[in-house]
């Protein structure tokens, strides 16, 4: 991706440096994202996200973390009015896990091994603001 400009500011919550490296490289190459931050545990991620709720447009969350979990990140930021959409990227994208993540506010759930393409097209879609449908009502004001 050589285009500059409308890259979507993305924050990644992922405990493995190796997956982080690959994910960042893949996204950088194929999707219009700019990785503005990364955290390896729930507490740090929540702290970063709540510090400036407008700081990023996309949050990619792994479920199993160094400490805490991606579900905790979702739970603790759900009502903070984050500008960014939260999506979950996990190796355990079972129907139960998908339902759980969605109920906690995840916009989408992607399987780490099989749905990276979907994540990339999701990012591409996000970067085209005019086509994005209006956000469902129920904006939360804190």
């Amino acid at each position: 991706m050589k285009t500059t400009g409308q890259r979507i500011k993305t924050f990644i919550v992922e405990d493995s440096p190796i997956i982080l490296e690959n994910l960042v490289a893949t996204l950088e190459e194929l999707a219009p994202v700019q990785v503005v931050g990364w955290a390896s545990d729930e507490a740090t991620a929540v702290q970063w996200l709540l510090k400036d709720t407008q700081a990023c447009e996309l949050v990619i969350i792994d479920v199993y973390l160094r400490s805490g979990s991606g579900l905790g990140v979702l739970r603790n930021t759900a009502h903070a009015g984050l500008a960014g959409k939260c999506v979950v990227l996990t190796n355990y994208a079972t129907p139960d896990m998908r339902a759980k993540c969605t109920s906690l506010g995840a916009h989408r759930v992607f399987d780490k091994s099989g749905e990276l393409d979907e994540l990339i097209s999701y990012c591409t879609q996000l970067s085209r603001p005019p086509q994005t449908p209006a956000v469902p009502a129920g904006g939360v004001h804190n």
Binding site: M1, T4, R7, I12, P17, I18, L20, E21, V24, A25, L27, E28, E29, Q34, V35, V36, G37, W38, A39, S40, D41, T44, A45, W48, R66
Partner: protein, 134 residues
């Protein structure tokens, strides 16, 4: 007369009792004093040890953060495009903030994973700006 004797006896008995108590008390007090002193010294030693440990931990944390910063700077210097000179690395409790410039978007994003791969790093806040040729 009888009343008087009784009173005297009672007084004597009381005095004797008090004396016994006193002696007992004194005996215990010495023991207690020793015990107390020992406990106090032990307490103080324990507290001193705690203070030392916490001070050492703080120094250790600082040193750890400095080590992380140094390691990231070394990684940046080794990178063909990123420059340790144009990037300011700040580490607090394993949380890294990158400020400065990167020559292109790929390098900017690479800085995140490069810093994240350094052992002990918990989070990276990438505030790098892309400045071609910078």
């Amino acid at each position: 007369m009888q009343v008087h004797t009784k009173l005297t006896l009672a007084t004597l008995a009381t005095l004797a009792l008090l004396g016994a108590c006193n002696r007992n008390d004194e005996g215990r007090t010495v023991g207690q004093q020793v015990d107390g002193a020992v406990a106090k010294v032990e307490n103080q030693a324990e507290r001193a040890k705690d203070a030392t440990t916490s001070a050492a931990n703080q120094v250790g944390d600082k040193a750890k953060d400095m080590g992380i910063t140094a390691a990231i700077n070394a990684e940046l210097a080794r990178d063909p495009k990123l420059s340790a000179l144009s990037i300011n690395v700040d580490t607090v409790d394993g949380r890294v903030t990158l400020k400065g410039t990167a020559p292109d978007t790929a390098s900017r994003d690479r800085a995140t994973s490069l810093a994240g791969a350094v052992s002990g790093v918990l989070a990276v806040d990438n505030q790098l700006n892309v400045t071609p040729g910078g």
